[in-house]
């Protein structure tokens, strides 16, 4: 075995580039919430973009390396300590056998990616190792990591040659502030909302509700009361769409969102800003700016 999970932290899951091709069966792609950060972690380990890595939520995780490895941490949401010494993010690091990696509380950000050179050896389910918790698919038996899990590396020996010798300057506004601006385009049902409601949507400082997860972020603010009480026929939805429930509460769909939805979609957020959202934690303030 190669990596031992002593504590999983708030929620740690195995992810890869995602599970494509099963939407018609109700199975979303899943995959990393902050795709850009996950891809950087793979680059820093000289990995293919579809290797298995770990997505950690906030802090609390403790891992032990049973074998030496080259690793990279990206994203944010925690302070990493390797054998009690601070470990930089966005840089390839050689970790010696027996090392302990801990994640402590930090001020900003929400999700850390831990990639290891060669990736973790996880069996694929339906073409992917990405964990989709609501469907109990991928990862380790379709669940989040738990204490006692042991993850093997695909690569027996780390290869320190050909590693990028850089510490990447990374920018994601949610890693240095708890108030961020998210850009959007009009959603398919934008016109179902009155001018006043459209303005309210853009002028409100929305708070991310504690009941937010990889499926969706719930927003707190003034309710958006649709003047037109039309029913939407259930239709396909994707990460980045903002649905508004009959109670006027907006939900931003994220990586594990279900494939079909029946609420009007006021707005759509594209990939760059979904990466910003991925690093926003509950309590963050969002305001929406139209592209």
């Amino acid at each position: 075995m190669s990596l031992i999970v002593h504590k999983p932290g708030l929620q740690s899951t195995i992810q890869d580039a995602g599970r494509e091709g099963f939407r018609k069966y109700g199975i979303p792609a899943a995959g990393p919430m902050d795709l850009a950060a996950a891809q950087l972690a793979q680059l820093l380990c000289n990995n293919h973009h579809d290797q298995s890595l770990i997505e950690l939520t906030l802090h609390g995780a403790i891992f032990e390396f049973e074998k030496s490895a080259v690793i990279a941490l990206t994203g944010g949401g925690a302070i990493a300590l390797l054998n009690d010494a601070p470990l930089p993010y966005n840089k390839s690091v050689v970790v010696k056998a027996g090392s302990i990696l801990k994640f402590q509380a930090s001020l900003y950000g929400c999700r850390t990616y831990l990639a290891v050179q060669g990736g973790f050896a996880i069996p694929q389910e339906m073409g992917s190792t990405a964990t989709y918790l609501p469907g109990k698919l991928g990862g380790i038996h379709g669940r989040a990591l738990q204490a006692g899990d042991q993850l093997r590396f695909n690569r027996e020996q780390p290869n320190e040659r050909s590693l990028p010798e850089v510490e990447v300057e990374w920018f994601n506004p949610a890693l240095s502030s708890n108030q961020v601006c998210i850009r959007f385009t009009e959603g398919p049902e934008w016109s179902w909302f009155s001018k006043e409601e459209q303005n309210l949507f853009q002028q409100t400082k929305w708070t991310i509700h504690p009941q937010s997860n990889r499926m969706a972020y719930q927003l707190e603010g003034d309710a958006l009361n649709m003047t037109q009480k039309k029913e939407l026929v259930s239709t396909a939805v994707m990460p980045g769409l903002i649905q508004v429930t009959p109670a006027g509460i907006p939900f931003i769909l994220m990586s594990d969102a279900q494939t079909i939805g029946g609420y009007p979609r006021i707005a759509r957020i594209d990939s760059t800003d979904r990466n910003i959202l991925a690093q926003c934690r509950p309590g963050y303030l969002l305001n929406f700016q139209k592209l």
Binding site: R23, Y25, G26, I27, V233, T235, M238, Q258, I260, R268
Partner: protein, 233 residues
């Protein structure tokens, strides 16, 4: 107003939606449109899904989005004027065994009071129709099927229960569905099938797809408990 709306739902996905009342005719129209578009643009499209009055296409590249929206709008509008027939292979009927015994139908007696119908009448009304699978969603393999008899229609529960057993057959509004995995649910559970609707280890992981037709037939508690075949054969 145009009968077809095409709009992006993602930087790499767009939906073709028919502005028509939902039902068999509309579904068959969107199914035919989906087949034609999928064939003609198979290089651009990676996957597609159907739901009631819409077909959504996932593209390989975000650069194709605008082009595809325009082309799909033109093609769908012209197809609507002269709809091609849907291929026969997708028209199969699947007969699903259901045990309506109270042990497996926790809501049957409550809705029998609510609907002023005997349990036997509910079972017979539910199992005498042929249903169309309008879409799969909610959780992996969950089929949204319709329409159930008007005498069986009632709103979903106010408070969902936290664990519905896999295989539970349920109704809500004009629809009937089957829970493939253990999950929270707000539909009224009137029976259970011994079949597995979702099995991630199979090449085709789900029993049903949008466009399939389904009939239910009643089996006894003894038959349910001794059922050996987890799939349709």
């Amino acid at each position: 107003m145009s009968l077809v709306r095409v709009y992006p739902i993602h930087e790499k996905a767009c939906t073709v939606q028919l502005e028509k009342p939902i039902g068999l005719d509309t579904f068959q129209a969107i199914e035919a449109i989906q087949e034609t578009i999928s064939k003609k643009y198979k290089k651009e499209i990676s996957e597609s899904i159907l739901s009631y009055n819409s077909a959504t296409f996932f593209l390989h590249s975000a650069q194709q989005l605008e082009y595809c929206c325009e082309q799909f709008q033109l093609l769908a509008s012209s197809l609507l004027k002269n709809l091609p027939a849907v291929e026969e292979k997708s028209k199969k009927i699947i007969r699903i065994p259901v045990c309506y015994h109270n042990i497996y139908a926790p809501d049957l007696s409550a809705i029998s009071h609510q609907l002023q119908q005997s349990e036997a009448a509910i079972i017979s009304l539910h199992s005498q129709r042929k249903y169309l699978v309008y879409t799969i969603g909610f959780v992996p393999g969950f089929p949204y099927m319709g329409e159930i008899d008007a005498q069986l229609q009632l709103p979903r529960k106010k408070i969902p229960i936290s664990r519905v057993a896999p295989g539970s057959v349920a109704i809500a509004g004009p629809q009937t569905g089957i829970y493939p995995i253990e999950v929270a649910g707000g539909w009224h559970i009137i029976g259970r099938t011994p079949w597995k609707l979702f099995d991630k280890t199979r090449e085709r992981p789900c029993l049903l797809e949008a466009g399939d037709q389904v009939e239910f037939y009643q089996i006894t508690k003894e038959e349910f408990e001794n059922w050996n075949e987890p799939y349709c054969t």
